[in-house]
């Protein structure tokens, strides 16, 4: 079971500060959506609106056509996983999972047990005695095992070491293929998570920069490498993200569609057209203007 999300002209103000500015997008159900943004870009503000943790100043959020805020039907289907402050949480891991089980109708106990095993979570240990990475693993376990139609992971990997993050990504993909739901992953670890995304949303300073399918996005950027003047010639008129020079060779990153004709032309001139990573795109699209 999955739900779709429709956000229209969403704005959020904290006193004078505009955390979100007139954001609109649609999240197709059953897909993994990556939300990328720099620190303070408004990711968590946006996600807390989706999770009904707060109300927007303007605009609307709809899930399956219904407003989620204080809507018991929808709220029960939305799980929001974020970095919680567990320093006063004396409940044991087991107790936490039991509580989630009580309130999440789609919770799968066997799957939770499986995750507990592979994350090596100590069931009898109080949560505030767990390491940061273990607390995140517990959060992820609760998030995945809830199998909520809309599951939001807000930088859920914080504190996890690389192998643990790898387990998280693997489990996410494996479980998603068996039990499709709408998943939102917010992150700034773009390079190691890009392969997870079906769709990508980039926000910067509270505004939507782009929403694109990952495949499209990846094919829309390119790096053009070759002899300096030929490269300059070729990229003139294109949206240039960055350039690097080494001796007589130059490499320019461009953003935008490159037609087959252009590709042929590049080939004839001896220029190399390579892909660029989402990470590069993200960095350049959200770069501060000097």
């Amino acid at each position: 079971m999955t739900i779709d999300v429709d956000v229209r002209n969403l704005s959020l103000k904290y006193n004078d500060f505009e955390a979100l500015k007139n954001i609109s997008f649609h999240l197709e159900s059953g897909k993994i959506h990556g939300i990328l943004g720099r620190n303070g870009a408004g990711k968590t503000s946006l996600l807390s609106l989706l999770a009904s943790f707060r109300e927007s100043s303007e605009g609307s959020v709809k899930m399956d056509g219904e407003k989620p805020f204080e809507n018991a039907n929808i709220m029960q289907k939305v799980t929001f996983i974020y970095e919680k402050d567990y320093k006063d949480e004396t409940e044991k891991v087991k107790g936490m999972l039991e509580a989630v089980e009580r309130y999440r109708p789609d919770f799968d106990t066997n799957y939770a047990d499986h995750l507990v095993k592979i994350f090596k979570l100590p069931l009898e240990k109080p949560v505030n005695k767990l390491s940061k990475g273990m607390q995140s693993a517990l959060n992820v376990t609760m998030g995945l095992a809830s199998r909520s139609p809309l599951t939001i992971f807000d930088e859920a990997y914080l504190g996890m070491d690389a192998p643990t993050r790898e387990i998280f990504y693997k489990e996410l993909l494996a479980d998603q293929s068996e039990h499709p739901r709408t998943i939102i992953l917010s992150t700034h670890l773009v390079s190691e998570m890009d392969y997870l995304f079906d769709e990508v949303i980039i926000i910067d300073k509270g505004a939507l920069v782009l929403q694109e399918e990952y495949e499209t996005l990846a094919s829309r950027g390119a790096s053009i490498t070759g002899v300096t003047n030929l490269v300059d010639d070729f990229v003139s008129g294109m949206h240039q993200l960055s350039e690097q020079k080494l001796g007589g060779t130059k490499s320019v990153m461009v953003y935008g569609d490159i037609s087959d004709k252009q590709r042929n032309e590049a080939q004839q001139k001896g220029l190399e057209v390579g892909p660029i990573s989402l990470q590069d795109l993200f960095i350049h699209l959200t770069r501060e203007e000097a």
Partner: protein
């Protein structure tokens, strides 16, 4: 498809969580009470029974867990997909349940206490009229409903008064719980500066509650009042407290209806 309402589940869970806390509380008060009985055995002075002995500490205890409840449960429940409304309903029902449970346990313990003293012939005098200092000084015409009602009845003998004692005990501690909850909700929503305002509202509510039960006002703040106490019939007091609790609950609901959840 409409899902089954979830607030009864919230109520049951919150009731048992807080009952577990309360068992600790009752244990400590009982321990203190037993120590007092031992002292009383040696000094020969009279002592209030458990119901009276535990009454004021139960009030403070309920105030404290009321304050804690907003912080402990609101974020938890909304994070688990429960609406603020269901949280509120469940939490309110659980509070009623906890108040009744604590007073029921207190009543049963008092009964047990009388029984044990009777059976063992311990030279202890349990006397409610001596345990509360305010009664001795109550030689004015203003009635002090709460202690009098309890004094005039040995809860073991008169079942109606037994019930009345329990009812009063429950309503008293329940009103302190909702007052605490109001403080907690005020702080949760508005932060600590405006939160102080809620402490002021809470103090006024406590004074009103005391007035309703005809208890003499101990708070220095109430000196400006033109009267020390008002006299209501028992059922007037009961109705008054229920109204007071209702008003405070509606304040809490207004504060938490659309509150931003702390992360």
């Amino acid at each position: 498809m409409k899902q089954k309402s979830i607030f009864p589940k919230v109520a049951v869970d919150l009731f048992f969580v807080q009952l577990t806390w309360s068992v600790w509380f009752i244990g400590f008060v009982l321990l203190a009470h037993i120590v007092m009985i031992t002292v009383s055995l040696n000094t020969g002075s009279a002592l209030g029974d458990y119901l009276l002995f535990s009454h004021s500490s139960a009030k403070i205890y309920m105030l404290v867990i009321g304050i804690i409840s907003a912080y402990a449960f609101l974020t938890f429940y909304v994070n688990h997909g429960v609406t603020r409304k269901d949280y509120f309903r469940g939490s309110a029902l659980a509070a009623v349940g906890v108040a009744i449970a604590i007073s029921l346990i207190a009543t049963l313990l008092s009964g047990l206490e009388y029984m044990i003293i009777e059976m063992t012939n311990l030279p202890v005098t349990l006397d409610r009229s001596l345990a509360d200092g305010s009664i001795e000084s109550s030689d004015n015409s203003i009635s002090i409903v709460l202690p009098k009602e309890i004094i005039s009845s040995s809860i073991l003998v008169h079942s109606s008064s037994w019930f009345v004692s329990m009812l009063m005990y429950s309503l008293n501690i329940l009103s302190l719980y909702v007052i605490g909850w109001l403080i907690g909700a005020g702080y949760y929503r508005f932060g600590w500066v405006i939160g102080f305002g809620f402490i002021a509202i809470a103090l006024v509510s406590i004074v009103i509650g005391d007035l309703l039960w005809g208890t003499e006002l101990g708070e220095p703040l109430s000196n400006w009042l033109p009267f020390d106490s008002i006299s209501l019939s028992l059922w007037g007091s009961v109705a008054g407290s229920i109204v007071l609790i209702g008003i405070i609950l509606s304040f809490i609901r207004i504060i938490t209806r659309r509150v931003t959840i702390k992360m």
